[in-house]
């Protein structure tokens, strides 16, 4: 049995009287992407801050690559990377200088910063100062910086928040590549499409607690309805029929409608992650 890249047991953290993380437990295996899905203030970023050693937990324990987390643990920090929600780059440095500087802090002497910039589509701007970059380019810089030490564990805090679809897709592609390389990825997001597309498993977090944790498919099956919506031509208009797949005779009825010359479309009616989140928490993911 392989050691989990991230192992969290009953983790708690409070800001004064406010409980930000309550008895959170989960594991992430090497090469797995775990999507942390929740609205703003749900405790996603706080969990990352605790797991990356920025804040000590109030109680509970967490291990990264089998090593217990704590302040100033260079063995852990050499093998992790964090992509912050805040674009905390050195704006007066060039893209290349930013990457080379961080590579040097990890003790990497032969960092191929240009290749990493090429992966995120910034090779042509390598020698430009970051202050001249657009929001999307800065976010791609953030991602490339997170890749500089070939991390075994990657923490990504809202990596595509507020970006255009093209940039978001490019970033998601690179995240997938990192997971394929073997990195465990903890991805926080409030974008259900992102979580659905990228994550091997999804954790719903609300008010500091994990309310559900499973693959997106299983969550949809568990909380959604197994039904299809069939649209048929009906004279001059269109008629719709909902068929619950768990009811008796549904297969025959579906086969009959599928053979009908009036058939226009058949849609599955699985629940979206957002709908499941609302069902579980009574809150929307945005805001």
């Amino acid at each position: 049995m392989t050691t989990p890249a991230i192992k969290v047991e009953d983790l708690c953290f409070s800001y004064g009287d406010i409980e930000a993380v309550k008895n959170v437990s989960f594991e992430v295996q090497p090469g797995e992407i775990l999507g942390f899905l929740g609205p703003n203030g749900a405790g996603k970023s706080t969990t990352i801050k605790v797991l990356t050693g920025q804040m000590p937990p109030d109680s509970g324990r967490a291990e990264i690559l089998g090593m217990e987390i704590g302040h100033d643990n260079p063995d852990i920090q050499a093998q992790i990377s964090v992509c912050f929600e805040e674009k905390n780059l050195y704006l007066n440095m060039t893209a290349l200088e930013n990457l080379d500087f961080f590579a040097s802090l990890f003790g990497i002497k032969d960092a191929d910063s240009m290749e990493i910039l090429r992966r995120v589509g910034l090779a042509e701007r390598a020698k430009d100062r970051v202050h001249s970059f657009s929001k999307g380019m800065r976010q791609r810089m953030m991602i490339s910086r997170a890749f500089i030490n070939k991390p075994s564990v990657l923490f990504l805090d809202e990596p595509t928040d507020g970006l255009d679809p093209v940039t978001s897709a490019a970033i998601r592609k690179t995240i997938k590549e990192e997971a394929d390389r073997g990195a465990a990825v903890l991805l926080t997001t409030h974008d259900m499409f992102e979580a659905d597309e990228l994550s091997d498993r999804v954790a719903f977090i609300n008010e500091g607690e994990i309310v559900a944790l499973d693959t997106a498919e299983n969550l949809k099956l568990k909380y959604g309805t197994r039904s299809v919506r069939v649209r048929l031509r009906d004279g001059e208009g269109v008629s719709e029929e909902h068929i619950a797949l768990d009811e008796g005779g549904s297969s025959e009825r579906l086969a009959h409608l599928a053979a009908s010359p009036d058939l226009m479309t058949i849609h599955t009616e699985e629940a979206t992650l957002e709908a499941i989140f609302i069902e579980l928490t009574g809150r929307r993911l945005e805001g």
Binding site: Y15, K49, T52, G53, Q54, M55, D72, P74, Q77, A78, I80, S81, V82, F84, E86, K87, N88, L89, Y90, L91, N92, M93, E97, F101, F102, S104, L105, F106, G107, R145, N149
Partner: protein, 354 residues
């Protein structure tokens, strides 16, 4: 703690510094103040009178000029070369002392003496060099001055105002380079979130603070040294001057670090510097007003930095004469360290909770 990582961060700060307008402003301000004060109160840039001598006979006049304060003496072998240098305004005046000149003067003869004067030299320098040369010849002859000169001084006795301004200019160089630059560099890392980015790498907060501190010490030492050099106040003992400058830089950089960890943002940084500015600036003012009770200056921490620099660089003393002041400066720096550690822990907790 990794020295390698500290040096890498230090190199980054030195590389980024010149790209920041505020860094350049802080570096240039002491130079601008030097220029302003010298323009207003007389110039310390004004060169000393420059006298060249060609001495064919090991004259006592040469020895007398060598022993005189405030004259820049150049000894040459060739009268033609001397003349060329005076013509080129490399020297204000030139004196050609032939062999046997001293004996001839002592014997009451009137040997010829060539005295070149540069047409572009300052009139004050010509007068100083002429009078000095005539005095030396009179001494050689063994005769007394034909008149008794009664010297009547006007104005306040003591050092000239432009010399007493040196502590203020040095204070600015020290404070801006040693306090403001490391403090603002740390605050900028906090404001831009880059400190958080550093702290999730193997870098420790102590390494960041040490790198900022060294940044301040190096800048303050260099800036105050350059400022003293510009003001012609480097003193006769370079190593002693370096010792007091480094001591001063250590104290100001420690204060800068404390302000940097205390301030959450630039607004608070400026408020802290403005609020504490008069306390830091006060000892420099006492050098302008020697009639004030000087013991009051000792109540301010930077007195223990400025006084050794004043004594060693301006007054030409040795560092052994100011060992107590140097020791107090180092003790104040050491006493601030536990405070910095406590505030830095609070800073780290505040940063991640934002």
């Amino acid at each position: 703690m990794s020295l390698t990582r500290i040096l890498k961060m230090l190199r980054k700060d030195f590389a980024l510094g010149p790209r920041s307008p505020i860094f350049l402003y802080m570096i240039l301000l002491p130079f601008a103040l030097t220029g302003l004060f010298q323009f207003a109160f007389g110039s310390l840039f004004t060169p000393q009178p420059r006298l060249g001598i060609v001495d064919a006979g090991n004259s006592a006049i040469t020895a007398a000029v060598e022993g005189a304060d405030g004259i820049d003496l150049t000894l040459l072998d060739d009268a033609a070369e001397l003349r060329a240098q005076v013509e080129a305004n490399d020297l204000d005046a030139g004196l050609v002392l032939p062999a046997g000149f001293d004996d001839a003067v002592r014997d009451g003869g009137r040997p010829p003496l060539q005295f070149y004067i540069g047409g572009e030299s300052y009139a004050s320098n010509r007068v100083i060099l002429t009078v000095t040369a005539l005095d030396a010849i009179r001494d050689l002859e063994g005769s007394a001055a034909p008149v008794d000169v009664e010297v009547v001084s006007f104005g306040e006795a003591g050092l000239p105002i432009n010399l007493r301004l040196v502590p203020i200019i040095v204070f600015y160089a020290l404070a801006l380079a040693g306090i403001f630059l490391p403090g603002s560099s740390l605050v900028e890392e906090k404001e831009h979130g880059t400190l958080n980015a550093l702290l999730v790498t193997p870098v420790k907060v102590s390494e960041v603070l040490v790198s900022k501190w060294i940044f301040g010490v190096v800048l303050a030492t260099v800036m105050s040294g350059v400022t003293l050099a510009l003001n012609g106040a480097l003193g006769p003992r370079p190593l002693d001057v370096l010792t007091v400058l480094v001591t001063g830089a250590i104290l100001v950089a420690t204060l800068g670090l404390l302000i940097g960890v205390l301030a959450k943002d630039s607004t608070m940084l400026f408020a802290l510097i403005k609020g504490t500015g008069i306390l830091m600036f006060a000892p420099a003012i006492f050098y302008l007003f020697p009639d004030w009770p000087q013991w009051i200056a000792k109540l301010f921490p930077l007195y223990w930095v400025i006084e050794p620099i004043w004594q060693v660089s301006v007054m030409g003393g040795a560092v052994t004469e100011v060992w107590f002041e140097v020791l107090v400066a180092l003790l104040i720096s050491a006493a601030l360290l536990p405070l910095i550690v406590v505030v830095a822990r609070r800073m780290q907790a505040q940063m991640v909770s934002q």
